[in-house]
Symmetry: C3
Subunit: 254 residues, 3 copies
């Protein structure tokens, strides 16, 4: 239905579905997914809807930044932490407004679908060149609600603690740590999951198929982040971890 609303307003603008796979009401997972996609967005307007506060007095916003290639790129959604990580990846928001001008909203038959009634119409206005300031009053981009950043910390003994930011559909466990957080000359890690279970040995690998069957690996994934994986297996299930959990990587040798 959002597509149909957009099509009626901007029939010639291509629409891309970034994801429909965010767990219900998981604003944090949504913010990470939007952050992963951000470097591949050029220009236009992005609608982000993970919005458990829909219908309440939570603020609805739109923010402007610069997309890959230099075009104007807008993000529209609830002010609940969903948008800032993607804006940050692109250099931060240059301006933001609170969506208030009901003139472009759809007449709502009920209060629970701002994606359809507010965000999609706002994105359509922006995509067709309406100025951000026409949609509502300006707010300071720095005042947008932010969720706590994911845990990444290195201890004195070399152990790297980091949060699971994503379990993809293959079961690969993306960690908040970046490639540069991994010690370069270490070939093996002990992976701890905070359970009472013994740590699991994981080998540094460049690709899934470099791993022996059943062997846990640490690789740099397609976002440049450290990830735990099992070749042709489901690493998250094997380790018993999910998004938001914290795992530890203890370098061995090196």
């Amino acid at each position: 239905v959002l597509h149909s609303v957009l099509r009626q307003r901007v029939p010639d603008v291509p629409i891309v579905d970034l994801t429909h796979g965010i767990a219900r009401q998981d604003v944090r997972a949504g913010s990470f997914a939007l952050m992963r996609a951000a470097p591949y967005l050029a220009e236009g307007a992005v609608v982000g809807v993970v919005d458990p506060g829909v219908g309440t007095r939570r603020v609805m916003v739109a923010a402007e930044t610069v997309g890959t290639g230099g075009g104007r790129l807008f993000f529209v959604g609830p002010d609940n932490g969903l948008l800032p990580p993607a804006l940050d990846v692109l250099g931060g928001a240059s301006a933001a407004v609170q969506l208030e001008d009901r003139g472009y909203w759809l007449p709502a038959r009920g209060p629970t679908f701002a994606g359809r009634d507010v965000f999609a119409p706002a994105a359509a206005e922006l995509a067709r060149g309406v100025a951000l300031g026409d949609l509502g009053n300006p707010i300071y981009p720095a005042m947008l609600v932010r969720l706590p950043p994911p845990v990444v910390s290195r201890h004195d003994d070399g152990v790297l603690e980091c949060e699971v930011t994503w379990v993809d559909c293959f079961g690969n466990v993306q960690l908040a740590a970046l490639a540069r957080d991994l010690p370069p000359d270490v070939g093996w890690f002990e992976v701890g999951t905070g359970h009472s279970k013994a740590p699991v040995l994981a080998g540094r690998a460049a690709a899934f198929a470099d791993l022996a069957a059943g062997q846990l690996g640490v690789l740099v994934d397609s976002e440049g982040r450290a990830a735990l994986c099992l070749d042709r297996g489901h690493a998250a299930r094997a380790l018993g971890v999910g998004e938001g959990d914290v795992v530890s990587l203890r370098p061995i040798g090196g």
Copy 2:
């Protein structure tokens, strides 16, 4: 594959996927989904495929109505009850035909995929301006097969019985009752599910987040229908109800 068939015939017409989430062979659920989307459709041709009778002598039809904004809007699909509720929402069909002219059908390699071989090609013809009457012989729109309407009945004691028309992906339970069917000054309802279980207390709410954790609520949803919900919970699972079940709402106080 339907997209590819459409693209070859009308490359410049935008395509919107309304839903792929209808349970197998559930014509009634499909008819409600199409009805929910109808007010957001402008002009063009809609392909509806929930078609357990595919390959038999069931009739295939196309019907014309007026979309939001006044454009010509066509619905194409099996004559099994799928299309009339959406047509009704838009004011009813002004004309209908039985799809019979095999000239525009795809040569079928088997009888089980009318969506690809008949409905998509018919929709493409209509989308590019071919007259409805060129696709087959006219039939009376009033003769289109209709499924029984969903149950909504108010008893003398004020109890509202209504059918579950949709369980969305959040577990919200949409009821057939409209906002106006809910007594305006009632803050609480006893919700009965026809099981032996005791009724559950539900508070009237304007938004999901108005509810306390674990509290069942009655709100007017984004289609203007009464819905049962649990803030950040799965109301259908908590109540043990599904699409097609009948629930009762007994007003308390008022």
Copy 3:
């Protein structure tokens, strides 16, 4: 993200998602899905990504063939068996190259997402008219890696053994056998599944709804292949078979 990458390079070319429903790393199932779609593809470039060897030295390729209607149609993907069955359906590849010219690749942040970094950019180049030979060095199409073809064999006693090539979302069991492999005058078959279970009787049918409730049927499906089905039931679950299993059909009478 692949859509966004494509949109930035060929904004005016329509994009069709053929399927996102292939089981993880199941190259064979992917090759059959692509083969089923192939007759409905006209011109353009198809990205195929079922790529468990991503990041290793496995070869990445693009191949040219002729689509339905006579246009130029390209297939891009890993050289692991995914592409040849679709190419074969369309008459075979007239040319192929190994994707090597990194000039059009996206700068990869990690090695595990060739779909985004190599295949989508290559498809965009081809869709906008760049010559196949500009993307890498030519290879012989006949040298593309091929998986073993699915089992179809007829025994002297008339029993047809054939592999399950697809279980669709309805539970219909597509077999590798074509319509012409089924004896024309046989109304009933004993279906064996290689389990210890007794064979199940299946009646020849033209459409799902021709079957009595609970009755297993053999019909020619929308790809022109033999399929086992249960009207409004899940044949694969009832038989206990899945993709890659071999079933036997023993004609009765005739």
